[in-house]
């Protein structure tokens, strides 16, 4: 059950899931919401910080933010909260929400031929028309992509050629990439003390052609080797390249070539990692689950196209799900391929973020297409957890049962005592082996005895620690040539201690 904690239709936030993060403070009890606001998309880009329901600070960003992450910076206590914003070819680090450092991506090599052409143009040796022709020739043949300036030039109309040339005369030609992926914070080696080492994964993409140029990894706090082991598993190319290629590549450290490539039937729109698996949302209103090595696990069909995706990681409850925002103003919650929850929103959601906000553990923050901000909190008693006994069960009979742990132990003893089982084996040895789950044991053993002479050969298995657990009962026909049909199984149990959906069924 979700409670609407806050809805601000005047928030004026235009952002995406990659530019929204929770954190930014040293103590988790007062965590803030940090949003990289895209403004109008051309200007008015801002880094906004919310505490509770109110906006506490704003910083102007120079370029469009493409990724944002909140992390803790120092090795020693007290740790300094920091925010990293990827924007254009830079990564800005805000320490205590004040500008602190700027990383610049190394410039890329410019095509020598292109440089030559431009230097000739500077000396007025070639006229704009032939310049254009030569650049077009380079674009078609060369493997290094053209710089932004050349591409802009090619788009221009003829009469604008001259002023452009004048303007660009003194500026050296440069080609720089753009950080398309957001940095990932990894939980460092010492999981207990919450040491977060920021391993930045930078994926450089030329702004125009979306070609993957290079992948950089760098590490801010502890040494690279420390986190290397963990990082290897977590490094993953986040589908930026896949925009054009409709495939997802899995890259490992120190290689620019993808190790695994997942071919998709349609273009991916979102990618989320859940545990060791990767969940990819595609344009064809489908959601695919893959292993890290690219093996397809499942496909789920959605009622509407996807607008955004995000991971819901509920630490306190050990529950992970994928949140998928859809164009029909709903947010679906998927645990593997099972839909475990639907949240209705007043507007189409463009970004989702789940985590601890303020003192609330399970806060879901969404911004919508109409630039609204919505915060919903999950109510404590609500349990969206995936009930595996229901979901994974085969077509056979499933019975959910609740009991406490102490009872379970008793139950086991009773089950394992051979008396209950062997005595029942009468002249008609029987079979029937649907995997059934369920219930209180002692009761069941006795039930078998009463209703039908069914020996239950391996004692029923009890899985889980409770309060609800699964009981697998295997009934086997040991007779060589006598079929057994129409068996009824009933469960006798103490109703004050256990509950079962149905205590009687036919096999």
């Amino acid at each position: 059950k979700w409670l609407e904690a806050h809805y601000d239709p005047l928030a004026n936030l235009y952002t995406f899931s990659s530019c929204i993060a929770l954190g930014g403070t040293a103590t988790p009890n007062s965590s803030q919401l940090v949003v990289g606001d895209l403004g109008t998309g051309v200007y008015n880009m801002k880094l906004k910080v919310y505490r509770g329901t109110s906006l506490v600070s704003e910083n102007t960003l120079l370029d469009l933010p493409t990724g944002l992450v909140a992390f803790l910076m120092d090795q020693h206590e007290p740790r300094t909260p920091a925010v990293a914003v990827a924007s254009g070819p830079f990564i800005y680090i805000y320490k205590n929400l004040r500008p602190y450092f700027k990383f610049t991506l190394p410039p890329l090599e410019v095509n020598a031929l292109e440089q030559e052409v431009w230097s000739q143009a500077r000396e007025d040796k070639i006229d704009p028309m032939s310049l254009k022709e030569m650049l077009e020739g380079i674009r078609e043949k060369a493997d290094v992509p053209l710089s932004v300036r050349s591409l802009k030039f090619l788009r221009l109309l003829r009469d604008l050629f001259v002023p452009l040339k004048v303007v660009s005369r003194d500026i050296a030609l440069s080609l720089s990439g753009c950080v398309m992926s957001l940095p990932l914070p990894l939980r460092g080696t010492g999981g207990q003390n919450r040491s977060q080492s920021l391993v930045i994964i930078i994926i450089i993409i030329t702004t125009t052609t979306f070609l993957l140029i290079s992948v950089y990894f760098s590490c801010l706090s502890p040494s690279w080797k420390q986190s290397g082991a963990r990082a290897q598993g977590d490094m993953r190319f986040r589908g930026a390249e896949s925009v054009l290629l409709s495939s997802v590549c899995v890259c490992y450290r120190e290689s620019t070539k993808p190790k695994y490539c997942i071919e998709l039937s349609s273009h991916p729109v979102g990618l989320v990692r859940v545990g060791k698996n990767v969940v990819v949302g595609c344009t064809q209103e489908t959601l695919h689950g893959f292993t890290q090595k690219g093996k397809k696990l499942w496909t789920a069909y959605l009622p509407a196209p996807i607008t955004t995706m995000s991971l819901m990681d509920h630490h306190a409850r050990g529950f992970q799900a994928v949140l998928v925002g859809l164009t029909n103003c709903q947010v679906h919650m998927y645990c593997d391929k099972n839909l475990v929850g639907v949240i209705k929103t007043p507007d189409m959601v463009t970004s989702i973020c789940f985590g601890r906000y303020g003192r609330e553990d399970g806060a879901l923050i969404m911004t919508t297409k109409g630039t609204h901000l919505a915060v919903q909190t999950e109510q404590e008693c609500a349990s969206p957890r995936c009930r595996d006994e229901e979901l994974q069960s085969p077509a056979g009979v499933t019975v959910g049962m609740r009991s406490s742990r102490v009872l379970r132990v008793l139950l086991d003893e009773e089950l394992q005592s051979p008396a209950g089982v062997t005595v029942t084996g009468l002249a008609a040895p029987v079979s029937s082996s649907p995997p059934e789950r369920g219930s209180a044991s002692l009761a069941r053993a006795r039930a078998c005895r009463l209703c039908s002479p069914v020996p239950c050969r391996p004692p029923p298995q009890v899985q889980g620690l409770g309060p609800s657990f699964k009981l697998t009962l295997n009934i086997q026909n040991t007779a060589a040539c006598r079929p057994v049909m129409n068996l009824a199984v009933s469960f006798l149990y103490d109703e004050s201690l256990y509950s079962m959906k149905s205590a009687f069924f036919k096999v």
Partner: protein, 181 residues
Amino acid sequence: MGLFDKLAGWLGIKKKEVHVLCLGLDNSGKTTIINKLKPSNAQTQDIVPTIGFSIEKFKTSSLSFTVFDMSGQGRYRNLWEHYYKEGQAIIFVIDSSDKLRMVVAKEELDTLLNHPDIKHRRMPILFFANKMDLRDALSSVKVSQLLCLENIKDKPWHICASDAVKGEGLQEGVDWLQGTV
């Protein structure tokens, strides 16, 4: 109650005992409020998050209060209902500066009021809109609006703004509670 007890009550030697539940979300200031109500020599200096619950006793002019100071953390909130039967009054504390969780407080209050042990009893409920000293705190009127307190028809209730750290507004609330019980 025997004749002697009644006599003692009239004479003011023995005070009537009242069991009070102190409820509210975590970090709303329940323990601070109870601590402030105790005599000054019994007060503790450092308040830590309550685990489970703690029992505190203090006396006013005519009543002797036994307060069950329940923990407000999410995982302990399901303990509340086990004490509803014994309680004769409820103190519900709200952090009026935490607008985001007002809806959570409302949800917990609604569950509380609809609980079978409480629903049909005329239990007085005292609300403290706490943390009034903070800059972005809501007024007590606004808090009662957000919690829809006007819908409570069958129980006497009272809301007062308070600042538990300084002790402002607490006495007013306890006086009301004393008069209603």
